[in-house]
């Protein structure tokens, strides 16, 4: 294998010297920033020739569960592929490159002045459709997204073999109006986290732009109550987003580093609700549904305080504006404040009725070591199951603190698994543990598919514990 500086020269020759740099402290790993599909292909060809693994990066990507092989490799930074290639107003879709963020796409839509809007209500600065659909999965990102099948209409990807493929209607027609007809090959890329190919463009369905929008935060005396209301709202399918934020996160955003306990009178949770409508009567209709959901949930005891418009909250306290970027920007929320360079996130799907108990287990696990975690609970679209996002705290007092933290997390993973949760994102330290609690047959099928598409195991090689080329 030929590695080292002559690799840097070769990569520099492909994309330009200023777009190649060695990883700090790891000279065998090179970051390469191609600016076109052709450059991506040439970098892939070089990696193939030299049998080097290739990892992809894009804006806002959570890399907490990825490890670069020690032997070295190439990190393909796709952020310079940041063009909005097409906005189709009649068929309502946009074709974008990996580096386009939701915010960038919204800006472009506003510039074009049409009546199209994003399918998401929050537009955090660092996250884009590529990350949301191909890495994180739409279910966790926003209720309005449903899952990827509705909003990810197709992709153009470069496979590990160097072939370029298109999926969705575009494969047959050159237009991106839908996934079909025929076998849905787009699913082979959604949530595969880059392991099935390098997606260089993707088509995103757009919504008509609503005239009215409300984003509310509603303090609740009990999180069980807030979650019950959230589930009711999800089941109406009228709302664009709903989730529950326990009391710790707002306090951390306001400067508390380790809030140990909820104080008397403090809301136990905050229910976030987004809804949009094209007319005031439609908006009122949704508002009435919201009031009913709050009222019905309150019958079990506890109460909701008056709703707070998110815009007011952000104006009064800019540090709380980040609540409006959730759940899309979840992993970065606390890391920015804590100065932690590697965002860590533990996310799991589970029975919707078990969400609050799951969150309590998280509290208990981290509470035992005096490090509170950030938690966000939300029902899935339709309210069939729930998604629990946990932002583990940063260990600040050295190795002992860190060991204690990891031990607590290991216990937590086992507890959540026993309670019926499926962990799909986790800090890299727990990879082995999470693999152990995943169904063997399912893992095996994924690996077999993966080996068919990428026989040399070049793309994202450490996923599923496989060996690099």
């Amino acid at each position: 294998m030929i590695r080292g500086s002559n690799l840097a020269d070769e990569l520099g020759g492909l994309v330009g010297e200023n777009r190649v740099r060695a990883e700090v402290g790891c000279p065998q790993v090179f970051h390469v920033s191609p600016a076109s599909s052709e450059e991506v292909l040439s970098v892939l060809t070089t990696a193939k020739k030299r049998k080097l693994p290739l990892l992809q990066r894009a804006p806002g990507l959570d890399t907490s569960d990825v490890t670069m092989p020690r032997e070295g490799g190439i990190i393909l930074d796709l952020r310079l592929l940041n063009r909005v290639l097409e906005i189709e107003h009649t068929e309502r879709y946009a074709v974008v490159e990996p580096g386009v963020t939701w915010q960038g796409l919204e800006k472009r839509l506003l510039e074009e002045g049409g009546d199209l809007a994003l399918p998401v209500t929050s537009t955090p600065s660092g996250i884009g459709p590529w990350t949301t659909f191909l890495f994180d999965g739409a279910e966790g990102a926003g209720l309005s997204l449903g899952n990827e099948s509705r909003f990810l209409l197709g992709v153009e990807a470069i496979l590990a073999t160097g072939e370029t493929v298109k999926t969705g209607a575009s494969a047959a027609t050159g237009r991106w109006w839908g996934r079909g007809p025929g076998t849905d090959m787009t699913s082979l890329f959604a949530r595969w986290r880059g392991a099935s190919g390098i997606v260089t463009r993707l088509a995103v369905a757009l919504d008509p732009r609503p005239r009215h929008a409300r984003r509310l935060l509603i303090p609740s005396s009990k999180r069980r109550l807030a979650m019950a209301a959230s589930i009711r709202l999800a089941r109406t399918e009228l709302f664009d987003e709903t989730h529950v934020i326990p009391w710790t996160l707002p306090r951390v955003l306001l400067g508390a580093s380790r809030p140990r306990r909820r104080l008397p009178g403090e809301p136990e949770a905050w229910l976030a609700v987004d809804f949009r409508a094209d007319s005031l009567p439609d908006l009122e209709y949704k508002r009435v549904h919201l009031a009913q959901a709050l009222s019905r949930a309150s019958k079990r005891g506890g109460r909701f305080d008056d709703p707070l418009p998110l815009s007011s909250v952000a104006r009064v306290c800019p540090s709380l504006a980040m609540l409006g970027d959730l759940p899309l920007r979840l992993p970065e929320a606390l890391c920015e404040r804590g100065g932690d360079t590697a965002p860590r996130l533990l996310s799991c799907h589970g029975p919707v009725r078990a969400m609050v108990d799951g969150a309590s287990k998280v509290d208990e696990a981290y509470g035992e070591i005096g490090l509170p975690a950030g938690i966000l609970m939300r029902p899935s679209p339709g309210g069939d199951h729930g998604i629990l996002h946990v932002i583990p705290p940063a260990a600040t007092n050295g190795q002992e603190d860190r060991d204690e933290l990891l031990a607590a997390e290991r216990r937590l993973v086992e507890i959540l698994d026993a309670a019926g949760f499926v962990i799909h994102r986790y800090p890299r330290e727990h990879r082995g543990l999470v693999n152990e609690v995943t169904d063997e047959g399912s893992t095996d099928l994924t690996i077999r598919l993966r080996r068919t598409i990428d026989p040399e195991n070049m793309l994202e090689p450490t996923r599923w514990g496989l060996l690099p080329p």
Binding site: P219, W247, P250, R251, L254, G255, A256, S257, R258, P259, R260, L263, P264, G265, E266, P267, D305, D306, P307, L308, S312, V313, R315, V316, C317, S319
Partner: protein, 130 residues
């Protein structure tokens, strides 16, 4: 410049943290500092079931959560939504008449203090030292 004194961040509830954030922003402005320097008294703020006491002593502003035996000179209470309305300067006489915000005690002190919570920092130049 008046100094803001609070207990450990981790022991403050969300209302106290919000009040602290607003007072910090106010004290970054000339107007805010001028108002704060002239105020003396103990103000109780209530949002839902949370209480915060702001002790104004000219050179210092202290935030307390414990209801000490010391009596407050003025108080304003309502929901968290009312608190956010106060911070945006949106509370009108009608809100008080409708008892959406309840006020009591030294209303003159309250009238001077509440604008501190709605003062915005417009990057004003630093004023002279005390």
């Amino acid at each position: 410049m008046p100094r803001l004194i609070t207990s450990d961040d981790d022991d403050l509830h969300i209302l106290s943290l919000l009040v602290r954030e607003r007072l910090r922003r106010a004290l970054e402005t000339v107007d805010g500092r001028n108002i704060a320097r002239r105020l003396r008294g103990r103000v109780r703020l209530t949002a839902g079931e949370m209480e915060t006491f702001v002790v104004l002593e000219g050179r210092t502003i202290q935030l307390e959560q414990e209801n000490t035996a010391q009596r407050e000179h003025a108080s304003a209470s309502g929901t968290l939504a009312s608190f956010f309305a106060i911070c945006q300067g949106k509370i009108r006489a009608m809100d008080i008449l409708r008892r959406q915000v309840r006020v009591s005690g030294n209303l003159l002190l309250l009238r001077r203090f509440l604008p501190l919570l709605s003062t915005e920092n417009s990057n004003e130049p630093e004023e002279h030292n005390d």
